[in-house]
Every structure is written in structure tokens, then in C-alpha cells.
Amino acid sequence: MTATREKAAVAVADKGMTKREWIAGLVQRRGSVVVLALVVLVSSLSFDTFATVDNARNIAMQSSFLAIVALGMTFVIISGGIDLSVGSVYALGGVLAAIGIQWGSVAGLLLPLVVCGGIGLLNGALVAYGRLAPFIVTLATLLGARGLLLAITDEGANTRLMPRDAVLTQIGQGTLLGFGYPVWIAVVLFAVGVIVLQRTRAGHSVLAIGGSAEAARLMGLPVARRTVWLYTASGLLAGLSGALAAAYSASGVTIVGVGFELDAIAAVVIGGTLLTGGAGTVGGTLAGVLLLMVIQNVINQIGTLSSHYQSVVSGAFLAIVVAIQAYLSRAHLGRERST
């Protein structure tokens, strides 16, 4: 009797996935990469000025600022939250860098990081300890950070320039192996992001919090503390990105970053991260950012699309990409316990 029971225990053994499901699963997890590859392929064939080194350089450079912001957003969204304040914080970071640089490059970097990190900290504290919805908290700081920016720039009238020879400006404008430093910084940050999310306990706990904050709390994870950290990191990255962008253009422009948060969110979601939290990848976000930039580049390659049609095309493209993603992901989840 006992022997048969032991055998019966194996009844729960894994029933395995078919090859089709496995492939579909892979495509889903890497869906954005697949779509990106397709778009790049088609564009290269359609426009002879697309697949050039110069163009690659441009796209890389343009992508780097959004990518850095989207990296922080990825972590926040995976944790089940959202950070709408990044656009304003990005702009504020740039302005603060231009203000801080008058005391040297270190100050030019530290000032935006401290203030923007502080705004992130405030977001995190309100979400984690105030138990407010992230959407509304960060919507408030979106307004607040923009207000702060206007307040320190004489209602936006005062654009400060950054001295060209300052180290910080050089970081924004210099190149290494043909690619700008911001590109390399983004690459390094993403590499770190991948490792943190996939290979560290902290990253693992972010996935858990997004999957079920209640379960994570009951399992003894420091949910509140992690949450505070996540929003702080998002603020820091947005501030850093803003500072780098300011260095790149050698000025703390006050009108940037409006709607930037939506771009970042779109990139993250196109990258396969669930807005409901609990699942997502850093690499996917990078592909999402590149996709957005490539779309824009393709529209410019066409060169004659009116600005109105440009929005229509971007919107349609966004819908199609996410629809394909959703289709692939459903093929993957297939017959799971979904209803």
C-alpha cells in the first residue's frame, strides 16, 4: 500500500510543455526584440539611409536619455506601481545640473541627483507608508516638480548655459568608440539593471512585491522599504538622465520632459512588462525604447509625413505592437488557469 502511494505521489509530476508553447513563450518574453528586429529589417530594406553607422549613432544617442528614465520605470512598474513624475523630474534634473555646475561639475551632478532622488523618496514614502495610490502620488509630484522648476527659473524664463569645458558637459557631449558617453552610461546602467533584477535578492523581491504585495508582506519581505527604494531610484535615474541631457545640449532647458513619462511607460510595456506588476524584463524595456525611437526615425526617413499623420502613425503602431505582444503572450499562457 505504501509503495503505491509513493508512486501516486509522482502523479503530480510535470506534464511538460510542447515545443510550440516553449517557442511561443520565448517569443513572448522576447516579443519586443522580435518586433524590433522585424522593423529594423524592413526599414533597412526600404531606406538606404537607415542602416548606416551614423544613423545607428543617432538612434543610440537619442535613445539613451529615455532609456535611463525607462530603466527606473521598469522596476517601479514591475513592483506594481507607476511613476508619472519622471518627465518633470527629468526636466528639473537638467535645470539643476545647469545651476549646480557653477560650483563645479561634481556639484552639477550631485545637485540634480540629491533633489530628484529626494522627490523619488517622497513618492516612495507616500506610496509605502502613506499607502496612497502611486498613480495619484506621482501625478501630484509631476505637477509639483514642474512648479519647482518654474520657481527656480523665474517662471521658466531663465535658461542657464553650461560651460563647454566643464567635465560634466564633456560627459554629455564626448564620445567613446564613436558613441556618446550617455550611450555607454545607459548600457552600463542596463547591465546593472539586468543583474539586479534577475540575479539579486532585492530584484527578486521586487518581482514578488509586484506579484502580490500582500503575500510578499506576509512572507516577511521588507515591502515598504523596498518600495521607497524603487521610487527613489526612479527619481535618481530621471534626474541623472535630465542632467546628462542638459550636458549634451549644454543648457538647462526648462521646456523639456512634457509627456516624457508616457514615452517611458510605453517603452516599458512594449518591452513586455506587465503594468499589473510581477513580471517584466529590463532587456525588453531597452528594446521598447529602441522601437519607439526607430518608429520616429522611420517617420523622418519618409520625410514628408505631416505632423498630424505622424501622430496617427505612432498611435497605430503602438496599438499594433501591443496587440501582437498580447497575442503572443496568450499563445504562451495558453491553457493555464486563466478564465
Partner: protein, 333 residues
């Protein structure tokens, strides 16, 4: 679809072409050899035009259209157009994309006076001549770019102030409907207006300054609030026509008679606003002429053929007042 009235309204005026302020031979000039680069016939050239904002207001529509028309007239090989949708980073990448697509000359309507440096330096390294139109960039002319064509926004503000002073008899309370925050057009038009009032009509008090984001609906809403709180104002300075037109609606529904007990002055010179001057509701409209095409292509042609061009071409803007509005209506855009 069938719209309310026949699509073609008053005939699109052929006039209204730009003219530089005082055919300036005295200003600094720039030549191809100073700037660097090779001579080129505009007919064989690829020209890029980077627009800053959506063509969703009369100024931008007229500006882009003028460039397109003139490009066709000049018979350029190809005109690339991009639109930054009010995003600075997009304008930078737009310009770089056009350079990458082989643009040999660039006309840029900058979104902001600062921050386009990466794009300008990309053009610079390839010796591509750049003209900036309507908004000046804070870089060195003939070094970072060839020349600037455009209005003087501070001057526009000053002219508006003079008109306001005239309409109010140098005495009264005015409200300012500001443009979008952080935009240097806003800054300049405000500074010009406020400074001129201080200098020449110190008895006019600015009692309210609120942003209407250059949009008609926002202008209307803000005006409705202001007129409730400060019922004794007798002047409104709108930093563009759209806000001015919105303010008119608000004033009328608050029981005021614009043109009689309250005076509205605005900047741009769109047809709708000039019509209001004709109707007597708007006291004056300072023009900001968007038809850059002819002047821009003429400048480019001269420059590319090796002739010197002016580094700063300041456009002479009209003023639409009671006396000339009806006659000039056809020239408004």
C-alpha cells in the same frame, strides 16, 4: 462631409510677404568662405526643414506652407520636413536624421533658443549651412549657424504696450494673458510689454498675469476668472491672437463691451484677430509674420552661391489698428 459654410473663406491674401526691417547693409554679414563649405546650386540641393510645433495654429500652418511653397518655386531637388511636436529632444534628432538623410542646407524653426547645440554642431561638422527662422538661438552667428531671420519679440511686446497705452489714454489696469511657461517668446513679449509700460505709461498697472498657454480655450477660461475677481480692469494684453480671441468671448459673456469699456491688444496678426480689429472689438494686433519661405530661400540661394548674407535679418512686422485693419485684412494669415 459638409461643413457649415463654403470651405474657402475670404481669398487668401497674396500679400503679406516678409520684408526685412530697414534693408540693412550695416549689420554683420556672413559668407560661405567664412562659414566653410562649398558652393551649390539650390536647384540640385536637398533642403531640410525642421518645424518645432504641430501645424495646429495659423502661425505654424502658414510658416510651414510658406517654406513648402517656396521650395517648390525654387525647384529644390528634395525638401525634407520634420516636426518636433514641441519636444526639444525630438527636434535634435529630427535635425540629425535629416543630416543623415543627406540634407545639404537646413532651415530650422527652433523650439527653444537654447538646447539645440548638438544638432547645430552635427550640421557644423558637415559644413551644412543652417538658417534659423522665427526664433533666435543663443549660439554664434556665422560660426554655429549662418543667420537668423525673424521678428523681434521684445519689440512686439513694446509695440503692444504702446497700443495699449494709446487705447487707455495712459491710465488703467491691465491683465496679461501669458504664453506657455518657459517659452522664450513668452518671456520676450512679456518683458517688452512690461518695460515699455513702465517707461512710457507708468500709470497703467499690471494687475494680473496668468498663463493661457497660447490656446484659445485656456485664454477664455483664465479671462473668465480674472474678470470676476478684478472687475475694474480695462485692458487685456494677450501674447497671441488665439488667447486674445478667447478673452473676447469671456469678456462678452461677462457683459463687457470689448473695444469700448475694455481694450484687448494681441500679437500675431491672424485673420480672425484682424477681423476683430475691423469689427472694433480688438483694439490692435501686432503682426508676427510667419511667411519665411521667400526670404529664407533667397538668403540660402545667395549664401550658397558665395554672396554675403546678413547674419540677422529682423522682419518688419505690421501693426493692424483701426485705421488699416480693413484694408490689410487680405494680408493677414
Amino acid at each position: 462631409a459638409k461643413s457649415e459654410e463654403p470651405a474657402a473663406q475670404a481669398p487668401q491674401g497674396t500679400g503679406g510677404a516678409q520684408a526685412p526691417v530697414a534693408p540693412a547693409a550695416n549689420g554683420p554679414t556672413c559668407t560661405l568662405s567664412q562659414y566653410g563649405g562649398t558652393q551649390l546650386d539650390l536647384k540640385n540641393a536637398i533642403v531640410g526643414f525642421s518645424q518645432s510645433e504641430k501645424e495646429a495654429n495659423p502661425f505654424r500652418i502658414a510658416e510651414t506652407q510658406s517654406i513648402k511653397d517656396e521650395a517648390a518655386k525654387a525647384g529644390v531637388k528634395q525638401l525634407l520636413t520634420t516636426n518636433a511636436n514641441s519636444q526639444l529632444s525630438k527636434q535634435i534628432s529630427d535635425i540629425q536624421d535629416m543630416i543623415n538623410k543627406g540634407a545639404q542646407a537646413l532651415i530650422i524653426a527652433p523650439l527653444n533658443s537654447d538646447g539645440l547645440e548638438p544638432a547645430l554642431s552635427a550640421a557644423r561638422t558637415k559644413n551644412i549651412p543652417v538658417l534659423t527662422i522665427d526664433r533666435k538661438v543663443n549660439s554664434t552667428t556665422c560660426k554655429d549657424y549662418v543667420s537668423f531671420l525673424g521678428s523681434n519679440f521684445v519689440e512686439q511686446g513694446k509695440r503692444a504696450a504702446k497700443e495699449m497705452a494709446k487705447a487707455l489714454g495712459n491710465k488703467g489696469k491691465v491683465a496679461i494673458l501669458l504664453g506657455a511657461s518657459g517659452n522664450n517668446v513668452t518671456t520676450d513679449r512679456t518683458a517688452g510689454f512690461v518695460d515699455e509700460l513702465k517707461a512710457s505709461a507708468p500709470d497703467i498697472q499690471v494687475v494680473a498675469q496668468q498663463t493661457g498657454d497660447f490656446a484659445r480655450d485656456k485664454g477664455q477660461q483664465v479671462m473668465e476668472q480674472i474678470i470676476q475677481a478684478q472687475q475694474d480692469i480695462n485692458g487685456v494684453y494677450a501674447e497671441n491672437d488665439e488667447m486674445g480671441l478667447g478673452a473676447l468671448v469671456a469678456l462678452r459673456s461677462a457683459g463687457k463691451k470689448p473695444g469700448t469699456d475694455i481694450h484687448v491688444v494681441s500679437i500675431d496678426g491672424t485673420r480672425n484677430a484682424v477681423q476683430k480689429v475691423v469689427d472694433g472689438e480688438m483694439s490692435a494686433v501686432v503682426e508676427s509674420n510667419p511667411r519665411f519661405g521667400p526670404l529664407a530661400f533667397q538668403t540660402l540661394r545667395s549664401f550658397l552661391s558665395g554672396q554675403p548674407v546678413q547674419q540677422n535679418v529682423v522682419i518688419s512686422d505690421k501693426l493692424y489698428g483701426k485705421d488699416n485693419a480693413a484694408a490689410e485684412l487680405g494680408n493677414a494669415y
